[in-house]
């Protein structure tokens, strides 16, 4: 398995290398050099290193996701638990769910225009929208499918509603919470890169890529940015997967 993954990566690099002779694409080694150079050293146009851009993007994503999770997780559990509340929320959810988070970007920049640092707030808001719905849906699905037999068992042993919530519903929704966090982070990460491309926020990987394009198609820098986005996305997913594995040992 491990070995096949390595072969896969090697194939990718070989194909990339060969394509760099045919189409307008910098070769892997020159991108690698650029990546190593820009990781800690400031890129002259924006005056920031790749690491600094990454950190700005990550902070925006984490703030937006944190707010999204803090609302989506309890809401998902509540609407998974009570059919009446679920009916109430479901109409709202169903309307907004199919809207891609990117569709909110222009509106967000207008709504938050009067705020202190409006661009950042708008971006956090867009991440929030992107992370909120997948997380909510995942939690709700698990909270809904809680084994009724377990709830009944808890009742027979004298549990009140609060006990049932704490000792049955929340733990049995935990897989949904964790996969909701994972999916939410993934969507949030894609959203922030897009949002950063549409307004000058001064920092951020999306902004970096956009500026590198605008100052004259600097493909090496652009691909460097793409690789950074890929690595960070992969790491976030991997970290949550590890946590999942640890917390869901019982499965």
């Amino acid at each position: 398995m491990r070995l096949l993954k390595v072969y896969g990566l090697i194939t990718l690099i070989v194909v990339w290398y060969l394509s760099s002779f045919i189409i307008f694409l910098p070769a892997p080694h020159s991108v690698a050099l650029k990546f190593a150079l820009l990781l800690f050293n400031a890129e002259p146009v924006l005056g920031k290193s790749l690491l600094e851009h990454s950190i700005s993007s990550i902070i925006r994503v984490l703030s937006g996701c944190l707010i999204a999770f803090l609302i989506a997780i309890p809401l998902g559990i509540i609407s998974g638990w009570s059919e009446k509340l679920d009916d109430f929320f479901s109409a709202i959810i169903e309307v907004f769910r199919p809207v891609p988070p990117l569709a909110w970007i222009p509106l967000a920049y207008i709504i938050f225009a009067g705020f202190y640092s409006p661009v950042q707030i708008a971006q956090v808001f867009i991440v929030f929208i992107g992370a909120f719905f997948p997380c909510l849906l995942s939690v709700r699905e698990f909270a809904k499918s809680v084994d009724r037999g377990l709830i009944e068992m808890a009742k027979a042993f004298g549990a009140d509603d609060e006990d049932i919530l704490e000792k049955v519903i929340v733990p049995s929704s935990l897989p949904g919470i964790l996969s909701g966090v994972r999916i939410g982070l993934g969507v949030g990460w894609m959203t922030i890169v897009a949002a950063e491309m549409l307004a000058s926020s001064g920092t951020g990987l999306g902004y970096f890529i956009m500026v590198m394009y605008e100052v004259g198609g600097r493909t090496e820098e652009i691909i460097t940015g793409i690789i950074a986005i890929g690595i960070i996305g992969y790491l976030m997913n991997e970290i949550v997967l590890r946590v999942e594995k640890k917390l869901l040992r019982w499965r």
Binding site: E152, M153, A154, K155, F157, G158, D163, L174, W250
Partner: protein, 238 residues
């Protein structure tokens, strides 16, 4: 004293027609009857999990859930809790978190020493069922409701568990309602055997058991078996 006198309908269809019997403190009441005769439903009503017409009282009052230990037909363990943590469930609800040693003792009693840290997915069906029994015993209930707890065990383990249960009951004299399909088991364990038959089911008869010795091959044991069997079989309905 536990007094039961109930009828039950599901969606207008009568399942149980005025089932009546009582259990004195320390009685071990075995309930037998064919599949679908409402045995599980009866236990659920006693546990307050199901509505009913009629009356169920314990010492003249409505039953408090906290005085009940329930062993379900399916094990109903919390899959994210280890065997030990599952046994602790009822104790936590009673604010007895510190009683880990008690939970360990009960697990040992049902023959699961060494399995404390196993999750239900790492246990066999019979082991899970025994965790369920330990969970009910741990809270030291005044009324113990058991729904075919030994059905998924092999013959040998079943007889061992029956022996264990008999000893536990001898020691603590709980009031037990025990549902089973096995006439043999009912006579071995019970002080009373309640026979449910018919549609809707009624109490066909209550047999008091008093064995001189708990030996399954003795004449008196076989005599009781015949009597229960007669009550259960439809031929005797003339």
């Amino acid at each position: 004293m536990l007094k039961i006198s109930v009828s039950k309908s599901f969606n207008g269809k009568k399942i149980i027609e005025k089932a009546e019997f009582r259990a004195e403190k320390g009685d071990f009441v075995c309930i037998v009857g064919e599949s679908g005769s409402g045995k599980t439903t009866l236990l659920r009503m006693v546990a307050g999990l199901e509505s009913y017409e009629g009356e169920i009282t314990f010492r003249g009052e409505k039953i408090d859930r906290k005085s009940i230990g329930f062993v379900f037909q399916d094990d109903r363990l919390l899959p994210w809790r280890t065997a030990l943590e599952n046994v602790l469930f009822g104790l936590e609800l009673r604010g007895e978190e510190e009683s880990i040693s008690k939970a360990r003792k009960v697990l040992e009693l049902v023959g699961l020493k060494g399995f404390e840290d196993h999750y239900p997915s790492q246990l066999s069906g019979g082991q899970r069922q025994r965790v369920g029994i330990a969970r009910a015993l741990a809270i030291d209930p005044e009324i113990l409701l058991m729904d075919e707890p030994f059905a998924s065990l092999d013959e040998l383990t079943r007889e061992k568990m029956q022996e264990e249960l008999n000893q536990i009951w001898n020691r603590e004299k709980k009031t037990v309602l025990f549902v089973t399909h096995s006439i043999d088991e009912a006579i071995f364990l019970g002080t009373k055997v309640v026979v449910l038959t018919g549609i809707p089911s009624k109490v066909r008869g209550v047999i008091d058991i008093s064995l001189k010795k708990r030996i399954r091959t003795s004449d008196e044991f076989i005599e009781y078996k015949k009597r229960v069997f007669e009550l259960l079989s439809p031929q005797s309905m003339f």
